[in-house]
Symmetry: C2
Subunit: 324 residues, 2 copies
């Protein structure tokens, strides 16, 4: 939630003049997207989102993200569609940053997801996996198992300042996951960050997915594990089995889970919890003085990790029946 | 630039259902308005701004602000127009706060105002003064001369921590202004905060005025003095006489300045500079730990005040010729 880069109005007018969307009528910084600066742009052609990519997004990854949104939109998935300028490019430069204009998507993130939302998210996630199956580009998941140890090393000396025992518990989980991380699961494009902020609803209807800036090539079931972590826990840290059932069943209505994916679900859930705990921990330990954004709480995922360490099978997450 | 109050989506849907603008399609927190929370609201009926009034705005003042916007819009001034709900009320409650929906206004604040912008602002300010002439409600200006001493008292003990000598210079200016503040000047509704953020342009054309939450009943020429302070100084603190000329001439094309107003312009400019210096000073000295918004620099207005103390007549601000 932030606007990092201010765009001078004359530079904005020049930038927009390169597109076939008419002249700028207004541009308002919006509180959306943690990693980038976003403006709601009104031109004579309609409403759009203007994104300026900030330093945390690698410029060399942008063609993957933008190409993926184009690919998914062409497949009928509702997601922001990059608008090409007159030269045919979906990526330009504005105020010294890489920038893109994408279509405006109606809908809002739900603050308090219910069971029906979780079911809809499971379905949409599976649709995303199927729609991305023939996307030709690849992007390694820098935040999968091989990326966790560097985060742990960066955080370990001060981890116990967040809560006593955090360092030892983190190291134990990391060693276990490094030893048992599943290989060879069905995979392709995953969203990798499909939190409630990134799924839009209009009333009860899921209206679209946004923020593909962590998307990468990885195991489909890992994406489901991320969503179970992000959607199916209550504020008090308890796992809501009914929500988990709805999400897994929703997913399976669209794409079957293999036995290997089902068997791997507990370890994938542990991995997903560790991944978000580690990035939040590093962010929290490195808040610059005077920062405008307070990083999210790493302990939320520490609690979730403890739940996962007691889970024995996919049934503990709400999977009912056998592969189908 | 902030969103202070988060609105749960079900409460928002219920609130909007009280209006004839269709169902909610999206709502995005926007970085606009320092005092209140603002959302860009898309409904089946179109685009709107939803404002939640935060604690710094007195609830008893809201009927004045909302009534004024209705009055000015009815007079043809382009400003946000409050939308009434089915009960005929323009003010409601949402997420525990007073709230209103106003029309969406195209245009953008200019980051680097030029001479032509200053001329257009002068004209628009005079139009606002004429359009508000028959507005029946009154609101005292709490931030005019009688409101400055309490601010000075609150800040004086720590003023010199901002810059040495600030306390003595402020007290001297305050005493002088209290002794010589003009009375009986032509007056009525003034905007009182018509900074570049609050004036929208589309290309070179002034497209509307926003943020009437400091509007009050006071001397028209004081409003002009505020605008000269806000628009006609350069980044380096120097006064741009060409911009001042354009603004004053623009104002006089629409509304004549009396000789008393012309004579009072230097003292009104000193008062306007002191007013913004004092509120910024109090804000700067009272930043809560972990605040998301850094208050603006009081020293900007300290420098402007020094310029004003050397100005001898309205000619030093760019007024050319005699009353007309």
């Amino acid at each position: 939630m932030a606007v990092y880069t201010e765009v001078p109005d004359d530079e904005l007018s020049d930038f927009v003049a390169g597109y076939d969307i008419g002249a700028v009528l207004s541009a308002k910084g919006i509180a959306e997207g943690v990693e980038n600066s976003n403006y709601l742009l009104h031109t004579e052609g309609g409403f759009y989102i203007l994104t300026l990519y900030e330093k945390r997004v690698r410029e060399s990854d942008l063609p993957f993200f933008v190409g993926l949104m184009e690919h998914l939109a062409a497949k009928g998935l509702v997601c922001p569609q990059p608008v090409k300028n007159r030269k045919g490019d979906a990526l330009g430069r504005l105020a010294g940053r890489p920038a893109a204009i994408v279509t405006f998507l109606d809908g809002m993130g739900v603050k308090r997801p219910g069971v029906a939302h979780c079911g809809a998210v499971g379905e949409a996630l599976a649709r995303l996996h199927l729609a991305g199956a023939d996307f030709p580009m690849r992007r390694e998941n820098a935040l999968s198992v091989q990326g966790w140890r560097p985060l742990y090393e960066a955080a370990k000396d001060r981890a116990d300042t967040i809560t006593p025992g955090l360092r030892a518990a983190t190291e134990e989980a990391l060693l276990e996951l490094e030893a048992h991380w599943p290989e060879g699961l069905p995979g392709g494009v995953i969203h990798a960050d499909l939190f409630p902020d990134n799924v839009f609803f209009i009333g009860p209807r899921l209206s679209g997915l946004i923020d593909f800036y962590f998307a990468c090539t990885d195991a489909f079931a890992y994406d489901l594990a991320i969503c179970l972590n992000a959607w199916c826990f209550e504020q008090d840290g308890s796992y809501n089995l009914t929500k988990g059932q709805a999400m897994i069943a929703g997913y399976r209505r669209v794409r079957a889970l293999t036995q290997a994916e089902i068997d791997a679900l507990p370890v994938l859930c542990r991995g997903a919890a560790l991944r978000f705990m580690l990035t939040r921990l590093v962010d929290r330990l490195n808040v610059p003085p005077g920062a405008l954004v307070r990083p999210k709480d790493p302990l939320e995922y520490y609690k979730k990790l403890r739940f996962h360490r007691r889970a024995e099978s996919a049934a503990d997450y709400g999977l009912v029946g056998t592969p189908a």
